[in-house]
Amino acid sequence: MNAFEEPGERREDVDDTAFKEVLDRMWTRFLPDIRDRAAVLDAAAKAAVDGTLNQAIRADALSAAHKLAGTLGTFGLPRGTDLARELELLYASDDGLEGAKAQRLATITAEIKAMIESRK
């Protein structure tokens, strides 16, 4: 198997500006879906802080975090991917998510939401 460890080269004849414009239009088009995923994370983080996080909410949050981890970096938000991955690991763990961990969920989620809203 050939797993990729490094980003590939890029073609020299690609128009960066035009490409970025297309990517930005796609971001705008898919922003409602991305916001929906962030909202799922927000609800889960609030439930964790309130002590009402259950398995169903946790599973939804895990799925949303996984999808955002795979998406945000592609749209130029690599930090968003890192944070979403951290959430994914937390929600996938067998650990309880109370106290400091719940606060961490809330902090990360808030940062992701801010990042999404501030992307230009």
Binding site: N2, G8, R10, V14, D16, V22, F30, K67, G70
Partner: protein, 134 residues
């Protein structure tokens, strides 16, 4: 979609993207069409992907791992069972980066594993490199 928008000539490759996430599927398709000039087919599920692969016989398949219903590994095994699609190179696309997941994917026998998030400007070059299309 946006084929040749950026002045890149098609080189006759046909790639099927199977991914249930609309944003990933469309960005990947845009990337392969506009940067590499390849013809791109898409499917939003494993089942749809199997049908498209058998009908269009693409040169390669970019296959998401986590999909509802038929997931990527199951789709891959079904592709291999069908003589029409058995020899089509398959590259897994996954946001899972834990080593245990990577080992599991490697054991499947796919050509490569690509990781999300991908850079839309370099995705086609990654695929071309692993498949010897350069």
């Amino acid at each position: 979609m946006v084929s040749r928008r950026f002045g890149v000539s098609p080189v006759g490759r046909k790639v099927l993207i199977i991914d249930d996430e609309d944003d990933i599927r469309e960005v990947a398709a845009m990337s392969l069409e506009s940067v590499a000039g390849w013809e791109v087919l898409t499917a939003n599920s494993g089942l749809q992907g199997l049908a498209r692969a058998a009908e269009h016989k693409p040169d390669a398949i970019l296959l998401d791992v986590m999909m509802p219903g038929m997931d990527g590994p199951t789709t891959f095994r079904e592709l291999r069972k069908n003589p029409t699609t058995a020899r089509i190179p398959v590259l897994l696309l996954t946001a899972k980066v834990q080593s245990k997941d990577q080992r599991r994917f490697a054991d499947l026998g796919v050509e490569a594993v690509l990781f999300k998030p991908f850079d839309p400007l370099t995705l086609s070059r990654q695929i071309a490199s692993v498949l010897g299309w350069n």
